[in-house]
């Protein structure tokens, strides 16, 4: 199976783009997550933080 995929995919060129794609995806996820963390309601956060205690 591996060799089958290989045969058709050797055409992929421009490996250089992979790290760039990686960086962009990374920052997108990172920003979305930071945005979320600060957007949640304070009361909600406190409620969730107390779950293990009750």
């Amino acid at each position: 199976m591996l060799s089958f995929i290989k045969k058709y995919a050797v055409g992929i060129s421009h490996v250089e783009i992979y790290p760039k794609v990686a960086l962009i995806i990374f920052f997108a996820v990172f920003l979305a997550m930071i945005y979320y963390a600060f957007a949640v309601d304070r009361k909600e956060i406190e409620k969730m933080a107390r779950i293990p205690l009750d």
């Binding site: 995929i5 992929i12 490996v15 997550m33 949640v40 309601d41 969730m48 779950i51 293990p52 205690l53």
Partner: protein, 710 residues
């Protein structure tokens, strides 16, 4: 008003996993101390089944999958039920999970000491056990998800996110890295070869550390630390960031295990960049743990559980600071292949995993047995002896790593290696090995004191198998109040959480691996590189069986010091027929990538029979049984056919004449040995071993390229 439901928590499974954790923990540590001593007293390699090459994988597997594994399940089974306000979904699955995992451990122990191994670090178990692991892991997953889906608490506390990510990522890693072609019940070849195998292996190996030793334990930290401190975690917001950043970044960092190797440069750089970024979420998590105790430090002084947690979290911080540093190319150039890595691993294993596990046990056992800890004094002794053990282990190993590495690299003013004899650099660090064994011994003694204390506690207590409790049922549809946030979509929905985690971790793997697999130019082919002869192939399998790779690398980095010592540096194209790759990760002995032709056959014969005859003071085990035992030629044809399936270009029908070829080559070696006065039948294992060693690196010998002056 919602209906109040009565139900009970299952403590029995928690208790069983806890017992298993400390029993296997003691076994794993005991083997650890034994192999530490073997490096000082090689005579301790007294029987075949207990040589360093076989026991070291046993030690790592026992500690990671048996000790920490059962520790994870203990903690998850306890906390998940409470966080979900629900009993584990199925008692039957809990039982199957428990006994299935213990069966895997026993099978692993037996196969490893008998040399049944795939030869890939931390994934040594052969394919039938791999399948069993997959099945048991799925059982665990169903049980966990069943519990989460029938929960009575709407929010999924952050610990559960860590458990979900752990489950899905470990499943992915295990399956991808274990793809192998069986040739019999107990032997298989990795589907990948050379560079690709190395990349997959270290993507796995690194993330086994990340998703088996780290994320589940972080989940445990987020539950058990606030519990013991009786206050919520310092910042729940930070824990959210910690989670997403960690699982997303970790998965990319694998290539930092392959810096300066034949792995393509861009993949190495990617690994470094993400490794350095890892420091942020890791330290965020550590601070979050430690700051939870702010204003409660007086408590830490009295409460031994919190003391264990504080050292554990601090060790996590140290190890995760060091990890990114070790990923910097110039640091890695010094640390790699040395005991520095071993020190780093043990700060994590002994400090973070070990101490967190014992902290949880000290808290959990009295609670479930409805009693007080038998002796606080003994627990404190355990704490201090264990802490000293960690220091006596880690400090000499850092020193050893640094000292040995600098000896490898020093040149005289005349421009030749200052320490051309590898063994000299080994003998210089033997005192550090002794101190390390002492440190490991201390840690083991501490653990045994801990186990004694826990057993006494259990004896005086009265176990509560089912903890009765009640909670309101979860309303099916909660009215969405205004301003409800989009993250709800995921934060309360475990299935979405699973899918998003999987996508995030898969992206890293895909982006790293696809190019290496698909683009031919990533692995330049070298026309002079030919498949192994049947005899060499059999020898190679003996090399794997004996675990030579735990002490020997086969990867010469492009440094002046390495080329001067070992010969031309390794090229990606040299490994295209290596199923599995054998680059190794630690040089307790010298690199063997260009061993072929360095010594006469008789040298290897004598050296394998007793290394000290050729290298006085050697700490390599002796392999006398190789001289007694016959090569198993019944497997030759099947091995050739398997290799053909994997794309190794043997001629059609070669499997039928393979054994003839094997004997022909074996007779030549016998004749050469005879010339040097050694009588040995051509059917013996040693002959195959010699054939393999003499082949290593020969394909491109004599070629020379410009190299960096490191």
């Amino acid at each position: 008003m919602q209906q109040i439901e009565k139900f009970s928590y299952d403590n029995t499974s928690v208790r069983n996993f806890g017992y298993a954790a400390f029993i296997w923990g003691a076994v794993g540590m005991l083997v650890g101390v034994l192999i530490a001593l073997q490096l000082v007293i090689p005579q301790l390699n007294f029987i075949e089944q207990a040589t360093f090459g076989r026991l070291r994988p046993l030690h790592t597997n026992a500690v990671i999958f048996a000790f920490v594994g059962n520790g994870i399940f203990m903690g998850v089974y306890y906390s998940l039920q409470r966080l979900c306000k629900a009993r584990m979904w199925s008692d039957l699955l809990s039982k199957i999970h428990f006994w299935g995992w213990q069966l895997i451990i026993v099978l692993a122990a037996v196969t490893l000491i008998f040399g049944i191994t795939t030869g890939k670090e931390y994934a040594e178990l052969e394919w039938p056990i791999d399948i069993l692991i997959t099945l048991v892991w799925v059982v665990f997953g169903i049980n966990m998800f069943g519990t989460i889906l029938t929960r009575r608490e709407r929010h999924l506390y952050v610990a559960i996110w860590f458990y979900i990510a752990t489950w899905v990522t470990v499943a992915m890693l295990h399956i991808v890295n274990s793809l192998e072609l069986p040739i019999s019940w107990l032997k298989s070849y990795s589907l990948y070869a050379g560079v690709q195998d190395a990349l997959v292996q270290w993507w796995y190996g690194h993330n086994a550390v990340a998703f088996f030793l780290t994320t589940p334990y972080l989940g445990l930290m987020y539950y058990f630390l606030p519990k013991a401190a009786e206050r919520p975690v310092y910042s729940y917001r930070l824990s959210i960031i910690h989670f997403w950043a960690l699982i997303f970044i970790y998965i990319w960092a694998g290539p930092h295990h392959l810096l300066y190797t034949a792995l393509p440069d861009w993949a190495q750089s990617l690994g470094t960049v993400f490794s350095v970024m890892l420091i942020m979420p890791s330290w965020g998590g550590m601070l979050n743990g430690l700051l939870t105790l702010r204003g409660a430090w007086d408590k830490v002084r009295d409460d031994v559980v919190l003391k264990f947690y504080v050292v554990a979290v601090t060790a996590y911080g140290m190890a995760t600071f060091e990890g990114p540093m070790l990923s910097l190319k110039n640091v890695n150039a010094v640390s790699h292949y040395t005991d520095w890595t071993i020190a780093h691993a043990h700060v994590g294993a002994l400090g973070w995993n070990g101490f967190l596990t014992f902290g949880i046990l000290y808290w959990l056992v009295p609670l479930m047995f409805r009693t007080q800890l038998y002796s606080r004094k003994l627990a404190n002794i355990h704490f201090w002896v264990g802490t000293l053990g960690i220091l006596f282990y880690a400090i000499p190993m850092y020193w050893a790593g640094f000292a040995q590495s600098s000896m490898w690299k020093q040149f005289t003013p005349e421009g030749v290696l200052k320490y051309p004899n590898f063994l000299e650099t080994v003998n210089a660090i033997i005192p550090m090995y002794i101190t390390r064994a002492f440190g490991g011994g201390l840690y083991l003694i501490g653990s045994l004191v801990g186990i004694y204390n826990l057993v006494k506690t259990i004896r005086q207590g009265n176990f509560l198998p089912n903890e009765e409790t009640e909670a309101p049922a979860l309303a099916k549809h909660e009215a969405e109040h205004a301003g409800a946030h989009w993250h709800r979509w995921i934060e309360r929905r475990p299935v979405q959480m699973l899918v998003v985690s999987l996508v995030l971790v898969a992206i890293g793997g895909i982006i790293e691996m696809i190019p290496t697999f698909l683009i031919q130019t990533n692995i330049p082919t070298i026309s002079s590189v030919k498949p192994y002869t049947p005899l060499e192939l059999q020898g190679r399998d003996l090399y794997i069986k004996e675990g030579c790779y735990v002490c020997h690398s086969q990867m010469i980095r492009p440094f002046r010091s390495e080329v001067a010592r070992y010969g031309e540096y390794s090229k990606a194209g040299e490994f295209v027929y290596d199923h599995p790759f054998q680059w190794g990760s630690k040089r307790t002995g010298p690199d063997l990538a260009r061993e072929g032709g360095k010594y006469p056959d008789s040298w290897h014969y004598n050296h394998m029979l007793d290394p000290t005859t050729m290298s006085p003071g050697s700490i390599m085990p002796a392999y006398p049984w190789m001289i007694e035992r016959d090569i198993d030629t019944s497997t030759t044809a099947a091995k050739i056919r398997a290799m053909q399936k994997l794309g190794v270009p043997y001629d059609d029908g070669y499997d039928k004449i393979a054994n003839e070829e094997l004997l022909k080559q074996a007779r030549e070696i016998r004749a050469r040995l005879k010339k040097d006065g050694i009588e040995c039948s051509e059917t013996k294992e040693i002959i195959a071993m010699i054939a393999y060693l003499q082949r290593l690196g020969k394909d491109i010998k004599g070629e020379q390229t410009a190299l960096s002056n490191k």
